[in-house]
C-alpha cells in the first residue's frame, strides 16, 4: 500500500516537474508546479511529517504560487513570451543535467553505515528474545538491543459522556502536573488525546518522551512514577485517573540496511509507529534548542517582506 502511494506520488511529482521545465506557457508552468509541490506534501505525509505537509500546502500552494501568478499577470506585457532557450543553450544544460542526475542517483544508491533504528512493540517480553535470536542468526552482533517503556497511556473516567471542555481541561491538567514535577518528567510530552471508542465517559492520554534513554542518559519512562505524579491531581471533580499503562517496546540500534529490511518484514514483529511528530516538532521549536533559530527565521521573513514591499512600491509610485 505504501509502495503504491509512493509510486503514484513520485509519478505525479516528476511528470509535473517535467511540465514546469518544458511547457511554453508560463501560466501552465505555474499550475504544473502547484501539482508537483502538492505531491511533495504527500511525500511528507508518508514520511510522518504531517505538520510539514500542511505547511507545505499553506505556504507553497496557497502563498508562493499565488504570488508567482500575480507576478506573471503583472509582467505579461508581451503576451507571447519566448520561454525556451536556443539549442546552443539547451544542449549544454541537458548534458550538465544528465551528469548531475547520474551522480546524485549513484550517491543515493550507495550503502549507508549501520545506523538504522527500529522499535518493536513488546507486550509479553517474547519479542525481545525473538529479535535477539534473529540478530544472532543474521550475524548482526554489533546491533544494540534495549527494552524500554516507549509510551504511557493514561485512562481517565468521568461521571457521564465527556464534553470537549472537560477533554481540554484534562490535557492541561496533565501537562501542568508533568511540568510541576520537573525535572524528573521534563522531557515527557502529551502525544495524543483520544476518546475511547464505545465508552464516551472515558478519555485516554498518551505520553511519550523526547529522545531515547540511551542518548540522554535518563532513567527509562516509569509508569508507576508517572501515576504517582499525576494521581493527586484530578482535572475536574468528576474525572478520575483509573489506569496507567506502559507500552513495552524493544529498541534495536545500529542495524545495517539488509538486517533492517529483514527485521521490518518479519510477520511476527510489530513495528511501533509514532502517533504523531507534530507535538515533538512544536516542542523542539518553541521550548527546545531551536527557539532562537525559529525567532531569527521569523525576523528574516519579516524583513524580507518589508523589503519586498519597498522594492515593488518604488517602481509604481511616480
Amino acid at each position: 500500500m505504501e509502495a503504491v502511494v509512493f509510486y503514484l506520488l513520485a509519478g505525479v511529482a516528476v511528470v509535473f516537474a517535467g511540465v514546469v521545465v518544458t511547457t511554453r506557457n508560463v501560466v501552465h508552468a505555474a499550475f504544473a508546479l502547484m501539482v508537483s509541490l502538492g505531491a511533495v506534501a504527500g511525500f511528507y505525509v508518508l514520511l510522518d511529517a504531517d505538520f510539514l505537509a500542511v505547511i507545505q500546502l499553506l505556504v507553497y500552494v496557497g502563498g508562493i504560487l499565488v504570488l508567482v501568478l500575480f507576478g506573471v499577470m503583472m509582467t505579461s506585457g508581451r503576451l507571447i513570451m519566448q520561454l525556451r532557450a536556443p539549442v546552443g543553450q539547451l544542449l549544454p544544460a541537458t548534458f550538465v543535467g544528465l551528469i548531475l542526475l547520474g551522480f546524485l542517483l549513484h550517491v543515493g544508491r550507495s550503502e549507508l553505515p549501520n545506523n538504522r533504528t527500529l522499535v518493536f512493540e513488546d507486550s509479553d517480553g517474547e519479542t525481545a528474545r525473538r529479535v535477539a535470536r534473529l540478530l544472532r542468526e543474521l550475524g548482526a552482533e554489533s546491533a544494540r538491543l534495549q527494552s524500554e517503556t516507549a509510551r504511557v497511556v493514561l485512562t481517565f473516567q468521568g461521571a457521564g459522556p465527556l464534553r470537549p471542555e472537560a477533554v481540554r481541561d484534562a490535557r492541561r491538567a496533565v501537562e501542568r502536573g508533568l511540568q510541576a514535577a520537573r525535572p524528573s518528567s521534563s522531557r515527557l510530552y502529551v502525544i495524543q488525546v483520544q476518546e475511547v471508542w464505545g465508552a464516551p465517559e472515558r478519555l485516554q492520554i498518551a505520553l511519550e518522551r523526547k529522545g531515547t534513554p540511551a542518548s540522554d542518559g535518563m532513567a527509562p519512562l516509569d509508569p508507576s512514577r508517572i501515576a504517582e505524579i499525576l494521581q493527586p491531581l484530578s482535572p475536574r471533580e468528576d474525572l478520575r485517573l483509573i489506569a496507567v499503562q506502559g507500552l513495552r517496546a524493544v529498541r534495536v540500534q545500529g542495524l545495517s540496511e539488509a538486517v533492517y529490511r529483514r527485521l521490518r518484514e518479519d510477520p511476527a514483529l510489530r513495528v511501533l509507529t509514532p502517533l504523531s511528530t507534530t507535538a515533538g516538532l512544536g516542542d523542539a521549536l518553541m521550548l527546545g534548542e531551536f527557539l532562537l533559530p525559529f525567532e531569527v527565521a521569523g525576523l528574516i521573513l519579516l524583513v524580507a517582506l518589508m523589503g519586498a514591499a519597498i522594492i515593488a512600491r518604488k517602481g509604481i509610485t511616480p
Binding site: A3, F6, A10, V14, A17, G18, V20, V21, A29, A30, L33, S36, L37, V40, F43, Y44, L46, L47, A49, F51, L52, I55, Q56, G63, I64, L67, V68, F70, G71, T75, Q82, L83, R84, A85, L90, A93, T94, G97, L100, L104, L105, G108, R109, L112, R116, G211, E265, G280, A284, L285, P293, I300, A304, L305, G307, A308, A309, I311, A312, G315
Partner: protein
C-alpha cells in the same frame, strides 16, 4: 518496500529538473519556479533522512526553516522582477544587461 534510496531518487529528479529550468528558461519567473523545485528537492531529502537515518524531528525543523526561506526568497525575487519590468519592460535575463552582466 520503500527505502531511503527511493526518496533520494525522486528528489534527484526534482533537483535536476529545477536546475534545468534555471539554466534554460528565458523568463525570470520561470527561473524562480526552478529554484522552488530545487528547494523542494533538498527539503524532501532532509525529511527522508530524518525518518530513515536520524530519527526524531531534526530534519523536519530544518525543512520548516527551508520553507520559510523559500517564502522570503520568492517575495524578494518577485519584487525585484516587478521593478525590473517597470524599468526595462522585459524580464528576460538575457536582455537585462544594465549591470553589464
Amino acid at each position: 518496500m520503500i527505502t531511503l534510496t527511493h526518496y533520494l531518487a525522486v528528489s534527484s529528479l526534482l533537483f535536476v529538473f529545477g536546475m534545468f529550468a534555471v539554466l534554460t528558461r528565458r523568463n525570470a519567473i520561470a527561473m524562480l519556479m526552478g529554484v522552488e523545485l530545487i528547494l523542494n528537492a533538498a527539503n524532501l531529502n532532509f525529511v527522508a533522512f530524518s525518518k530513515y537515518v536520524l530519527g526524531g524531528v531534526l530534519g523536519q525543523v530544518v525543512g520548516l526553516f527551508v520553507i520559510v526561506l523559500a517564502a522570503a526568497e520568492a517575495a524578494i525575487a518577485l519584487a525585484i522582477i516587478l521593478d525590473i519590468y517597470q524599468e526595462l519592460a522585459t524580464i528576460n535575463p538575457d536582455e537585462t544587461t544594465e549591470l553589464k552582466g
